[in-house]
Amino acid sequence: MMTLLSLQARLSVAILLLVVLCALAAPFLYPGDPLDMIAAPYLWPGQDWHYPLGSDLMGRDIAAGLAHGARVSLLVGAAAASLTLLIGVLLGTLAGYYGGWIDNALMRLTDFFQIVPRFLLVIVLVAVLEPSLWVVVLSLGLTSWTHTARVVRSEVLGLRNREYVQAGLAAGMSHARIILRHILPNALTPILVSTSIVVAGCILAESGLAFLGLGDPNAISWGAMIGSGREGLRTGWYMIAIPGLAVMLTVWSLNVLGDSLNHYFNPKLRD
């Protein structure tokens, strides 16, 4: 298990580094607007080496779109995952630590968000609030935190009655200090190691939104490239295949990375 796992893990880290590098280098490699129509349309990959990955229906450089799209995917993924963690950890900690009616109210709120179909709610939010990158981030963050909150809550609940916490209370420590210094550092490991899986989910959701035309119309993204490539489905399927592969490899790498970290930090899960 370990050898293959580390092979997969190494591959995933390499892919992620490449994607991050592309995202960082995009403004230098392709300084113009990736939405500009600069090439002849319908260039297959390899047909013209100025545009190694070809061009789409409108003559936009696919390689440039891919590099700039990496920025959008990573930005949305990271920002939405951060928001998810922030909300989930905050609500989970409050619920687990204080218990009682706070716990009850927060858990009903969690129930609510688990019952409303998530992707549908995101679509509704983005459609109503007008698509922009920040609306997408906000909608994804506001709807994805339930799992995090439940995990943090159960961790905190377990730690709350430990003797060292009771000792801290008896010694007159403030709740804030106990939570921040003594409970959270112990409760966060399972959440932090699976952060990359949350990022992966957000990137996947973002690409779906952009595909449906609910992304930021002014930013190029992988999902939007797939969406606009649909019209060339019969003749130029590479326009769809290339950005889709980018999404798949990135999401796969993040998932594998999260799984590997999980295995490493939660030895109980190993079988």
Binding site: F112, V116, R118, L212, L233
Partner: protein, 329 residues
């Protein structure tokens, strides 16, 4: 049982109310209101002078000039009597629009769910049986790839391969035009034919999820004492795996099915859009494109109700399958 049902239904009330209030808030947030939409559609938005007055009159007739809390009450009253309003974009009552399309989505969703649960559980059991062998590793790696794929992309790639290049399957729609004339059997076969690609796409992703989950759950179950007892009794492996281990390992999978039910509709949005499948997902997409907020929110409301109902049914089923769970407590 009855006491439990009552309690659960009572718990649903605040959630239903919360969804109604959320919907109402979103309607308020959406730019433009119903009066402007209707006035715009009657084609008199451009000439300026009479428009203001017309919009104001329309507002009054829709009750949109009432104070906010009165509007909220009116909205709640309508929703709770399941009056979902009228879609001015599609020129039909919302309930009718939705009722027309539920069947297609249910067909698509339930077939892919059945397929995914069967395949996923089977693969999961197989992986648990041969865990940490080359087979398990290869299958697990493949499954990891399956749940990293954007479904709409997978759908498009299958369309390119099987629809455009090989031309084995139709690339969109639910049936050929005029197939009804050839009798019910031909029609059923045609619909089945059209189902292949969308169902495969939807099922591949969920199969991966169920396989992974079943494998983990089976590995846990196989370490229990009763499995050792069963082995000691000399039972056949097949009996041990399917009758003893899977029976217990399946319970958590059941919960997953419940959680997935809501995703079913959400997942069908992209799939139905790609395959122009005439179901709720396509309707959702059309509502988004046409900025029909009310229709969109009605779909959200009804699918939330559906998820609630499913979770209730699954809980009852759970109690039936696992005698250790006592609903009365």
């Amino acid at each position: 049982m009855r006491a439990y049902l009552q309690r659960r239904l009572l718990q649903f009330i605040p959630i239903i109310l919360a969804i109604c209030v959320l919907n109402f808030g979103l309607i308020q947030l959406a730019p433009g209101d119903l009066a402007e939409v209707v006035a715009g559609e009657s084609g008199q938005m451009d000439d300026g002078a009479g428009t203001e007055q017309q919009v104001a009159e329309l507002r009054a007739s829709f009750g949109l000039d009432a104070p906010l809390h009165m509007q909220l009450f009116a909205y709640l009253k309508r929703l709770l009597s399941l009056d979902l309003g009228y879609s001015h974009r599609f020129g039909a009552p919302v309930s009718e629009l939705i009722a027309d399309r539920v069947g297609a989505t249910a067909l698509l969703g339930l077939s892919s769910l059945t397929l995914a649960v069967l395949a996923g559980v089977l693969i999961g059991v197989l992986c648990a049986r041969y865990r940490n062998t080359r087979l398990d590793r290869a299958v697990s790696a493949l499954m990891a790839l399956c749940y990293s794929v954007p479904v709409f992309w997978l759908a498009l790639m299958l369309v390119v391969l099987f629809g455009v290049k090989l031309q084995w399957f139709p690339i969109g729609g639910m049936q050929e035009v005029g197939i009804e004339a050839q009798g019910p059997w031909a029609q059923a076969r045609d619909v089945l034919w059209h189902l292949v690609l969308p169902v495969t796409t939807l099922a591949l992703y969920s199969t991966a999820v169920y396989a992974r989950f079943t494998r983990a759950s089976m590995v846990d179950a196989l370490q229990e004492d009763y499995i050792r007892t069963a082995r000691a009794k000399g039972l056949a492996e097949r009996v041990i795996y399917f009758r003893h281990a899977l029976r217990n390992a399946f319970l958590p999978v059941l919960t997953l099915i419940g959680a997935h039910f809501g995703e079913l509709l959400a997942g069908s949005i992209v799939i139905e859009t790609v395959f122009s499948w005439p179901g709720l997902g396509k309707l959702t997409y059309d509502a988004v494109v046409n900025r029909d907020t009310n229709l969109l929110l009605s779909i959200l409301f009804l699918s939330s109700l559906l998820v609630m109902a499913t979770s209730l049914v699954l809980d009852l089923l759970y109690a039936r399958l696992d005698p250790r769970i006592d609903l009365e407590r």
